[in-house]
Subunit: 222 residues, 2 copies
């Protein structure tokens, strides 16, 4: 079958969903659009992929251009392609996501954005295009990943209590977890191990300190 | 930023990786290409997405057209977009995957294919384009999914032994599993429950029969 003529082809773009933990909240990186459509609206960073450009390289470049965040390991999330998702014409977007440590927080805008910032997932502004759906998909993927990866451990110091770890899980999942089930599950994961040290905390019974078993494997998503 | 002119746009296609279990093997659905490029070569089903067509709908339609398999629930796998992946020009492919029960095995060819068949993952012919990479990615996803989904249970009868279940896992993972660890993990998953019945098998000690806890949740990938 011959390839279609150029008039039948979509525009290829990327979008990037970047999460961080800050102030005990899961936060999301958004930029404010300078141009139509959705002028002045908050949206995910991203842009059009060049003719010979690698899609992931494009996503990293667009993220750096519009926010200043560089060197972030991105994972492909999902390709959004509903025919009507862009009011202009058919535009498909390969979405990526990342969870970054909160130290990397220096942001800046570029020619396409007139604002950039971290927003709590619980207090998001209205988003351009189908970006709210992208955020939902990324949050679901992140939550699922907690169960079978070491993604949460990058937010832990070298030694931590199970309460600290449960707190990080609860922030990412945005719900409370049962303490007993959580501890049982973490011990079954075999990704952390108990140390001989405890954390002395005032009047409470000292809490046992844990460490990650294979720290070099932790940064699946840096 | 304006959208690019039509000459800078890629062709949008889909490809579908369909697995089944048959003859104690994990098998893959391939079609033999009738046309250039890679004329006569085996490849994954798929094709060009129409201007206003939904990408997933296209994947289902192409799968049905080229193989006769219909009504299969597809899950998006990954978007392949390396600039040189098609010798003609830039073609990006949104790949989907599915694991189907082996009853659905009636296949047929269409105008674009001159052969269709199930191939053992251990004895694949050389594949067109980057389809070998797509198959690897799909197999990895499938294997990862065994750990946190009910994907394997669709291949089990109503009552089954833990040995039967381990056998299905081993076929999908293509390696032997430690019996004791496997049983421990399955019981921790809480997706199956022990029944009061046993399977009587000749001279062996009778084996306990299990059933799936929530059969209606099993068919994540039909």
């Amino acid at each position: 079958m011959p390839l279609p003529t150029e008039s039948g082809r979509p525009v290829l773009t990327t979008n990037i969903v970047v999460f961080t933990l800050r102030d005990e909240q899961l936060k999301l990186l958004l930029i404010r659009r300078r141009n139509a459509p959705f002028e002045g609206c908050w949206s995910l960073p991203g842009g059009v992929v060049g003719t010979d450009e690698d899609v992931e390289a494009n996503a990293m470049r667009k993220l750096e251009d519009s926010t200043g965040l560089s060197g972030i390991y991105l994972e492909q999330l999902y390709t959004f392609s509903a025919p009507e998702r862009d009011p202009r014409e058919r535009v498909i977007s390969v979405a990526y996501y990342a969870l970054v440590a909160s130290k990397r927080l220096q942001l800046r805008t570029d020619a396409d954005s007139e604002g950039v910032g971290w927003f709590s997932l619980n207090e998001l502004p209205e988003l351009a295009f189908d970006h709210a759906q992208m955020v939902d998909t990324a949050h679901q993927r992140l939550a699922a990943k907690l169960d079978y990866s070491t993604i949460a451990f990058q937010f832990m110091p070298e030694l931590f209590t199970l309460s600290d770890l449960q707190n990080v899980f609860q922030i990412i999942l945005n719900r409370d977890l049962d303490k007993r089930n959580f501890r049982k599950r973490m011990r079954a994961m075999e990704q952390i191990r108990q140390t001989s040290q405890v954390q002395k905390t005032g009047s409470h019974r000292p809490a046992r300190l844990y460490r990650v078993n294979n720290p070099h494997e932790v940064r699946i998503i840096k």
